[in-house]
Amino acid sequence: MSEKELEGSGSRGDDPLRVIVVDDDPLARRMLRDVLQDAGIVVIAEAGGGREAIELTTYYKPDVVVMDLVMPGIDGIAATRQIVDQSPDVRVVMLTSSDSEEVGLLTLRAGASGFLCKSVGLDSLPRALRCAREGEAVVSRQLTMRLIEGMRRVSEDGAGMRPIRSPLTPREWEVLDLLCQQRSTDEIADTLVLSVETVRSHIKSVLRKLGVRSRQEAIRCAGRLRSGLVPTSLAEA
């Protein structure tokens, strides 16, 4: 979505964007604040570390958090995970000097909406943050390609795909993946090197957490969760 489209959309694009800037370097924070304020964005708070960022985000509920990666105490990835967990409506965009795709992918897995390298230039940052607020991903073309390659490796039944937030543990997802492949309890136990009793316990937990009564219902629910059709909060209820 372009900036003009955002401005004319009549949605949240009309409201000033409220941002928290997180960077341990005060000079970097000041530079970011100046760039964003010049673009009409309201910098409601600044944080010098991950812990402070989590606290300020919980308090202010900004639209977007601009997050540094390397900081004292809690790093940007760990802070992102906690922020997204506690405040799912807040978008986090990582802005870092790292151009590592590995870091980028992990950042997105932690729940960030974007991963930008500082070398791309700060002029494009205001637009990127507005796009993030509107629910768009803010990632480089190279990183997008890595994501596409990852998607192509996923099997057709979606096994291995997980929503970012889910009531199920990773082990329960593994069990659910195998249920989706129509594996029996014994086969799941063999595959995951678990006892049959443990697998039964996992399946029971999966059914309870998904609010379903049968394995077939769980399989259908898994498909909806993977495609984002079911808010995870519903499944948690």
Partner: protein, 225 residues
């Protein structure tokens, strides 16, 4: 008494630049490791060996993060420009103790303080200064750390007294590790950063032994602006 008058010369400026670069390279690696460890943590049952391995990796990354924190602090101490104002030393000490809650608890150490006055300082820098001095004491094996302050002309003299191992060599030299070598030590820049923070406030810092053999880190800060 070992006192110190700091001056950031060309060599130190290069060192700071290197510290910043190293902190970001190492910090990125630590963030990656922590990120992947966090992905493994919610898993249900794990075999005992994996459990031990994950605990070891977690301890290792936390130790590496401490090193990163120190390097970031060393680099930042050369360009401090926060707001100065009246700061309660008691409040700053309480904040420092909260930040070091885990370390103090694991070491079984106690911090006790008499009534502490206000000083004219950058609050965040003062908290970091106290954190560094407490951690230096902990890394020297201290179990009891006392903090006291007395007025001295227009300054406040703060003394941090501990029962840990004494210093050797030049304690204010970066990476000197003058008072300990355990897992709490970090990059060994605690006293270097402390010295810079105190100098930023126009004060002095010194390290001494008292008659009872306790190690005393004492520093001065302006009492008023």
């Amino acid at each position: 008494m070992i006192s110190s008058a700091p001056a950031i010369n060309g060599a130190e400026a290069h060192l700071d630049a290197y510290a910043a670069q190293a902190a970001h390279q190492l910090g990125e690696a630590v963030a990656l490791l922590r990120g992947y460890l966090a992905m493994l943590e919610p898993r249900g049952e794990r075999d005992a060996e994996l459990e031990v391995a994950l605990r070891g990796m977690s301890a290792g990354t936390e130790r590496a993060q401490r090193f990163v924190d120190d390097l970031l602090d060393l680099a930042a101490s050369a360009r401090a420009d926060g707001p100065m104002g009246p700061v309660s030393l008691r409040d700053a000490l309480d904040t420092a103790c909260r930040r070091l809650e885990t370390e103090l608890s694991e070491a079984g150490a106690e911090v006790h303080a008499e009534a502490l006055p206000e000083a004219w300082a950058d609050r965040e820098l003062l908290v970091r200064l106290l954190c560094h001095l407490l951690r230096v004491a902990l890394s020297a094996g201290a179990r009891s750390i006392g903090v006291a302050a007395v007025p001295e002309d227009a300054m406040v003299r703060v003394e941090v007294r501990d029962d840990g191992a004494p210093a050797s060599g030049d304690p204010f030299a970066p990476f000197g590790r003058a008072r300990g070598r355990g897992p709490l030590v970090g990059a060994g820049v605690g006293l270097t950063v402390s010295q810079r923070i105190v100098a930023h406030h126009g004060g002095t810092i010194a390290l001494d032994q008292d008659a009872e053999g306790a190690t005393v880190s004492s520093f001065t800060l302006p009492a008023e602006g």
